[in-house]
């Protein structure tokens, strides 16, 4: 970077020549990056261009460009719809609860893992806690359906041991959020520890030795060495997670949705899928999607700013 800057400071004529010789030697770089550029253009930037249908009445025969403009009609319709509040509340409550409950767990796990004395056991534990990450959303949801089945599920069998009656959790609106969050922790907490473990591995070992000489207990070492060393990573992950507050895991909520739990499982992403693709209301649901995207975008930038101000850690 620095060199590039000094180059640009040199006089114009020299500059033009250096660009020529630069391109002569380096044109291949632009060929090599082309596939990635084409990929993102087609799969990310063209859809952004397609966002305009949120302000149009999309008709398949007229296409994205030809459909008539309608301004903010779809947005006002959505804000005035009777289900708007429920959708927004469901989405926010699910994601905020999920963030607050799931977030600290990988940090605790990483700290506790760091305290395992035997390297062999540590490795074994690490290897096993990552395994659930490799299980697909469908299989995870499938396991919930099977284990919680009121007729043959293990969970209701165990309830039976204590003389409790069977409960159909997958059809229960009040069970949806806890199940979503707990299964998410089961699947993701182990994987999420890796970043924190990496941060802990980077801590200067002499700090621990010095603390030991000063007679610090394990708790004190965690409090005064581990936690401060983890803070930048914690903030980074937190900022990223906040950016997903309105969008996370539509696919998981969709496979967990049953007729019984709709009052809580109907979140914006699932609604967009059901109404957009199910009943073909493309423009309307594109508007809803855009609304979420903008809020997420604002969220991540705000949280990043706050994080930069308070802890001097930020993503960008």
């Amino acid at each position: 970077m620095k060199k590039a800057k000094t180059v640009s400071a040199v006089k114009n004529t020299q500059n033009r020549q250096s660009i020529k010789s630069y391109l002569k030697n380096n044109w291949q770089l632009y060929v090599m990056i082309l596939p990635a550029v084409i990929y993102f253009f087609i799969f990310n930037y063209l859809p952004m261009y397609g966002i305009q249908i949120a302000f149009k009445d999309y008709k398949a025969v007229m296409g994205i460009n030809g459909s008539p403009w309608v301004g903010f009609k779809h947005f006002t319709n959505f804000f005035n719809a009777y289900y708007f509040k429920r959708l927004l509340a469901n989405t926010l409550i699910l994601n905020v609860e999920n963030l607050l409950i799931s977030f600290p767990i990988p940090i605790i796990m990483a700290i506790m893992l760091n305290q395992i004395k035997s390297d062999k056991i540590k490795r074994g534990v690490q290897t096993s806690i990552y395994v659930p990450y490799f299980i697909s959303t469908v299989v995870l949801a499938g396991m919930l359906y099977i284990f919680l089945s009121p007729t043959s599920g293990i969970f209701n069998t165990m309830r039976g041991w204590f003389g409790l009656g069977a409960v159909d959790y997958m059809s229960s609106a009040s069970a949806f959020r806890p199940l979503y969050i707990i299964s998410g922790i089961w699947q993701g907490a182990g994987y999420s520890t890796i970043l924190f473990i990496a941060a802990l591995a980077g801590v200067d070992q002499s700090l621990y030795e010095a603390a030991e000489i000063d007679g610090a207990s394990i708790w004190q070492k965690i409090r005064y060495i581990d936690l401060p060393s983890l803070l930048p990573t914690i903030m980074m992950v937190f900022v990223l997670d906040c950016g997903k507050l309105l969008s996370s895991n539509t696919d998981k909520a969709l496979v967990m949705q049953t007729a019984g739990n709709i009052p809580t499982s109907d979140i914006i992403g699932v609604y967009v899928y059901n109404v957009g693709l199910g009943s073909g209301q493309f423009s309307y649901t594109a508007a809803i999607g855009l609304f979420i995207n903008i809020i997420n975008f604002i969220l991540i930038i705000t949280v990043n700013k706050i994080s930069q101000k308070t802890t001097e850690v930020g993503l960008f």
């Binding site: 859809p47 534990v125 207990s217 708790w219």
Partner: protein, 311 residues
């Protein structure tokens, strides 16, 4: 929580006791966590080889009961699953090859210190992490591009991931000695030469890392198939599994049930076998990924570690 470490003998004793208490707490903590993580997986495996009646009676808790392979026999007659299994292998394999090629080429370019336009390209890629078209516009664009209902949409969708691109870039930047680059350039090598003869052979680790991440994501994705495919014969495995696993009722009319019933057995028998078959399907769908993880384990972790370095 923290015991105040006073100097002197009593302090030391107190301290070692507090540390011992911590070790006990830690051991109990990990035994619990390991149980919570591993028991559901263990249960699936033992149930998959148990007698259907024993499962329904709730007897299969700690070990298999009345060993039976009826579930496995049934799913191997289930044509739609077998076909989608084949589809998924094909999609995953081709997608991983394409993903690795595009990602490595892009990562190489972004890792060149004197590459002009780096900031611009970086922004072009990173912006997509924070903003996107959303489901519906993406769907309509894919339809307009005639990618809807083709294997290509499944293979290409998500085939370059910004995070993976950055991980690969950091890897090339930090693990391939810069002297090699300068020496080759003095010898008059082009970027194509250098990439093919030096970078690729030295990138085995990152190739394995990318294969694990891209491969697992592709194999486990049901949503793309659900949204972008109409033709059931093109469905990947997970999209088919969704209909069988993620549902409250056992659909009596479906293809699935028909393959569960042998000619002789009654509908009740078929329903029972269908219950066990679900466990078997989970084993068959997830087993290969977990085994692959076993082999690629060190690469898996490495990917995240490299990613956490600031490039």
């Amino acid at each position: 929580m923290a015991s105040n470490a006073a100097p002197g003998k009593t302090g030391k004793r107190k301290l070692s006791r507090s540390n011992r208490v911590f070790q006990i707490v830690n051991t109990v903590f990990w035994i619990m966590i390991m149980f919570i993580i591993l028991y559901p997986l263990y249960l699936v495996v033992i149930a998959s080889v148990s007698d259907p009646d024993a499962i329904i009676r709730g007897e299969v808790v700690w070990h298999p009961v009345g060993i039976s392979m009826r579930g496995y026999q049934a799913i191997f007659k289930y044509k739609e699953m077998l076909r989608s299994y084949g589809n998924s292998i094909l999609y995953t394999f081709s997608s991983v090859v394409i993903s690795i090629m595009i990602t490595l080429l892009g990562a190489y370019v972004l890792s060149r210190p004197k590459f002009k336009g780096k900031a611009l390209f970086n922004m072009f890629f990173v912006f997509t992490m924070f903003f996107g078209g959303g489901l519906i516009p993406t769907f309509l664009v894919m339809r307009d591009l005639r990618l809807y209902n083709t294997p290509w949409v499944i293979i290409l969708m998500g085939s370059v991931n910004v995070w993976n691109l950055m991980v690969a870039r950091t890897f090339i930047q930090t693990s391939i000695p810069h002297e090699l680059y300068e020496a080759s350039m003095i010898d008059g090598a082009t970027h194509f030469d250098y990439f093919g003869r030096v970078v690729l052979p030295l990138s085995k680790t990152i190739i394995a890392v990318l294969a694990v991440y891209y491969g697992v994501a592709k194999w486990n994705d049901y949503f793309t198939g659900l949204v972008y495919l109409r033709d059931r014969s093109l469905y990947p495995l997970q999209t088919v599994l969704r209909e069988i696993l993620a549902t409250l009722q056992v659909d009596m009319s479906g293809d699935y049930m028909i393959s569960m019933a042998d000619d002789m057995s009654s509908m009740i028998e078929a329903t029972k076998v269908a219950q066990v078959a679900k466990y078997c399907i989970i084993v068959v769908a997830t087993g290969p990924v977990v085994i692959l993880y076993g082999f690629m384990q060190k690469y898996f972790e490495k990917g995240v570690m490299i990613g956490s370095l600031k490039g």
